[in-house]
């Protein structure tokens, strides 16, 4: 990504540090379409880092490649909503066939490579892909045919129909945050005149809880961080938005960046930070230019930088770091590792980031929406905020709704809204179930649509996936199981191995080769992964299985063979290679 220097108060190089290991590797990969061993050694030398650190970073993140990818590198989302299998046709297969290329293998002429990737957050835009890192949305069969043509004719992406790259932002239902488009600077001005101590009291009193999923009290977090001793403090905005089906942060970054940066600055004033980071998921790299401009605007308006709004001694800078494809980097301590230029392996907690975060210093990590809500609270008062929502869930929640409904998009509700209400609003008439909070969240069946969105009942970081009557829910489970196996960081045994085993056990059920004992085995495996793993990924990785087994037992029962034992392996298939090699097809060459 070429960075243009304009005549502005803050050079972009300070907003986006090209020397950061992740950025350096990205830039080199742009040139060579992969990162070779030689490159790794060179970068290690330049960065004065162990070769193994650079190698482990390259090998950790999905968007770094050891082997050259194609001149056109396409990553199709495999999400249940914006995925290539979301519709009737398997678009990935079709695209591969049209371009005569195998998934994951670069075509011999180096022209094209096609793979899949975890949800890219375009769930309201239909089947989508990243092509050379840029989202291309609304994929269908016609488009696939046209894409194949454009690739073969070597058309550059600017020559492709530009509406394919158009990301729209329909607000289907606004609320306190989405409708709040006051003049920039209001919140921060108020915070600074109120003073950090009282601002913190306001945040605490508002009852604001983290919007990233876990729902920890924001006021408490900031207070812990403020009180923690350290040479310096940091503010980190978690814009990793990796939970499949979540795209509200994408929207907020696009349309409410100013409020976000004000929220971060307010946090900085409260905890005493001079430096903040916005950790942007690699899938949203296309937003980088926009965010850089938005930051420049903040600087120009003196809402960032030195002596902010004339308050001598209040200096705060924000730098953007772009990830490279790893769901686990949404976990705050893994995110911090990534910020430090390392693989995103979650740290041992405690100590928590509030006392020991970025570079070992006290760090407040919050979700995009949390900062925006904080800015709102400071501007409008905690009372107004608390008036909305429920007892333990003050304020509103922005939902990203997608799947089998007529009006996917961004919705904001006061906490406490019933699932049924949401379904009515988004035009989901035939929902059999909704997955709330993404694969790590909760599956709610029709009989429970009276339940409410709140921390007390069904909580969500924003993902709201609608499954219509015709959805194959077992296929959804399979999709989720693959997601976790692919995204496990590999640090701890139960998650690293268990998520893979889960895929296999589920496949056996889908294939109709399983027996009742296999279901018990899945339950046992689920509880093992969830109870004994190291971090939140493992702790939630089997929720979807247990939910399905509980809510839709028939799905499983139907496919079960009534016998005591059946092998996990398909023995007849296990003879296929030998049959091919020996050209045999006699009776003895088969088992069943």
């Amino acid at each position: 990504m070429l960075v243009l220097m304009k005549n502005q108060s803050r050079p972009r190089s300070l907003i986006f540090d090209k020397q950061h290991l992740l950025h350096r590797l990205y830039i080199l990969q742009q040139q060579d379409r992969h990162i070779s061993s030689e490159t790794i050694v060179r970068v290690a030398g330049e960065c004065n880092m162990p070769v193994s650190q650079v190698a482990s970073v390259v090998d950790f993140y999905s968007f770094f490649y050891r082997e050259p990818v194609g001149q056109y590198h396409m990553l199709l989302s495999n999400c249940t909503s914006c995925g290539y299998q979301a519709g009737e046709t398997d678009l990935l297969k079709m695209l591969c066939r049209s371009l005569n290329v195998d998934p994951g293998i670069t075509r011999a002429d180096g022209r094209v490579s096609i793979s899949e990737t975890s949800c890219i957050g375009m769930c309201d835009h239909g089947a989508s892909m990243l092509i050379n890192g840029i989202p291309l949305v609304g994929l269908d069969e016609t488009k696939v045919v046209r894409i194949a043509g454009l690739v073969e004719q070597q058309m550059t992406l600017c020559q492709w129909p530009q509406d394919w790259f158009q990301i729209t932002h329909p607000i289907r239902q606004g609320g306190m945050l989405l409708n709040n488009v006051g003049p920039p600077g209001n919140s921060l001005t108020k915070a600074l005149s109120t003073g950090p101590g009282r601002t913190l009291d306001m945040i605490e009193y508002s009852g604001l809880r983290g919007r990233g999923g876990a729902g920890f009290s924001t006021g408490k977090k900031w207070r812990f961080c403020r009180e923690a001793t350290g040479d310096t403090h940091y503010v980190v905005c978690n814009a990793d938005e990796g939970e499949p089906g979540t795209f509200k942060d994408r929207f907020l970054l696009q349309c409410h960046a100013g409020a976000l940066f004000e929220g971060m600055a307010i946090c900085a004033s409260v905890i005493g930070a001079r430096k903040g980071f916005l950790y942007l998921r690699g899938e949203y790299r296309y937003l980088l230019t926009h965010l850089q401009e938005a930051l420049e605007l903040q600087y120009n308006n003196n809402l960032l930088g030195c002596s902010i709004l004339g308050h001598a001694g209040f200096d705060f800078d924000i730098e953007i770091v772009v990830g490279a494809g790893a769901y686990i980097c949404g976990e705050e301590s893994a995110l911090i590792e990534s910020l430090e230029g390392k693989p995103g392996v979650p740290r041992i907690r405690p100590p928590f980031p509030v006392t020991c975060g970025y570079l070992g210093q006290p760090t407040a990590v919050n979700n995009v929406e949390t900062f925006i809500a904080a800015a709102y609270i400071v501007d409008h008062g905690s009372g107004v905020f608390r008036m909305s929502g429920t007892e333990h869930s003050a304020g509103s929640k922005i939902l990203s709704i997608s799947g089998d409904c007529r009006n996917p998009g961004i919705y904001e509700y006061a906490f406490g809204v019933s699932i049924q209400q949401v379904l009515n609003d988004c035009g989901a008439d035939n929902a059999q179930a909704v997955q709330i909070g993404g694969p790590a969240g909760t599956l709610v069946a029709r009989r429970d649509f009276r339940r409410r969105i709140s921390f007390e009942d069904v909580s969500t970081g924003g993902s709201f996936l609608v499954f219509g009557e015709n959805r194959d829910l077992l296929a959804v489970n399979q999709n989720f199981a693959r997601f976790f196996a692919h995204e496990s960081c590999g640090f701890c045994t139960p998650c690293r191995v268990g998520t893979r085993l889960m895929e296999g056990s589920l496949q056996k059920i889908v294939d109709g080769r399983a027996v009742a004992a296999d279901i018990d085995e899945i339950k046992r495996l689920s509880s093992l992964i969830m109870r004994y793993s190291h971090c939140g990924l493992g702790h939630t990785a089997a929720n979807h299985m247990l939910d399905s087994l509980k809510q839709f037992p028939d799905l499983f029962e139907e496919r079960i063979m009534r016998q005591a034992f059946s092998p996990q392996i398909d023995l007849e298939a296990a003879l296929e290679t030998a049959r091919q090699i020996t050209h045999r097809d006699d009776a003895d060459a088969h088992l069943d």
């Binding site: 190698a55 950790f60 701890c492 085993l501 093992l528 392996i569």
Partner: protein, 251 residues
């Protein structure tokens, strides 16, 4: 004297399986247990090295919560249970996971009899591997004259990484790759052990619990029947292990 005064501060104690166990500030549940000669199964922990918490063998129930003993600070009033049928069943399953994700053919392994993974299997009564084997293909590194790296048996415990970085001060190893593709890498331009400065007397060369890092020509030194776990249980040997003092000094 010191003992007396320690005893006096009975605020600093936890219980493990009903037994009162004292601890010093800063100690983990594992530290306290080991000091009291109580065995909580562990593979990725080795006293004297910073704990990592990756194998999950040391999972215990602490006031109703599952935590890894090796990375959880002891705090007064904690009631810990460890030796329960439920936890041992979980540990057995985790051990089986470690077996199936790698390639472990004990009859042909130089480490057999002295291997802590195998010994854990014995301790937990593991009769079979239970899960479907992954049969991964992993690289063997025979480039070094005295130290051999056979990744087939690596359980990603990170002990060699920590030993090399923190004690030997050589930083020879790291773990790279994500998820099931995690693997041990060598910190050299070629990625080969032969180009590193590891020596057979380094702690990193000796600490591997399994037969992944081996000192060459030292295999099968002791005959069957006289190897470590032919004679003793890991629940016994694990109580006396510690990074040798002189190594700590060196570090």
């Amino acid at each position: 004297m010191t003992y007396e005064s320690n005893k006096a501060i009975d605020a600093n104690s936890i219980t493990i399986d009903g037994e009162t166990v004292p601890f010093d500030a800063g100690q983990t549940i594992m530290d306290a247990a080991l000091a009291a000669k109580i065995h909580i199964p562990h593979l990725c922990h080795y006293p004297g090295l910073t704990p990592a918490g990756n194998c999950r063998l040391c999972m215990v129930e602490m006031n109703g919560e599952s935590v890894a003993a090796c990375v959880t600070q002891a705090q007064s009033g904690q009631q810990v249970s460890s030796n329960t049928p439920e936890l041992n069943a979980a540990r057995l399953a985790i051990t089986q996971m470690l077996f199936v994700e790698g390639n472990h053919i004990c009859p042909s392994c130089e480490k057999s009899g002295n291997c802590r993974l195998q010994a854990m299997g014995y301790y937990l009564g593991m009769l079979e591997e239970h899960f479907h084997q992954f049969n991964p293909r992993r690289e063997i590194d025979a480039s070094h004259s005295t130290v051999l790296l056979d990744r087939d048996r690596c359980i990603l415990c990170d002990l060699c990484v920590r030993a090399s970085r923190d004690i030997d001060k050589k930083n020879v190893f790291a773990i790279a790759g994500r998820g099931i593709h995690a693997r041990l890498v060598v910190n050299t331009a070629s990625g080969k052990l032969g180009d590193s400065n590891i020596e057979e007397n380094d702690l990193a060369a000796k600490i591997c619990p399994v037969g992944a890092i081996l000192i060459r020509e030292r295999s099968f030194d002791s005959p069957v029947g006289e190897r470590i776990y032919d004679r003793r249980s890991i629940s016994d040997t694990a109580l006396t292990e510690h990074v040798p003092e002189k190594e700590v000094d060196r570090g």
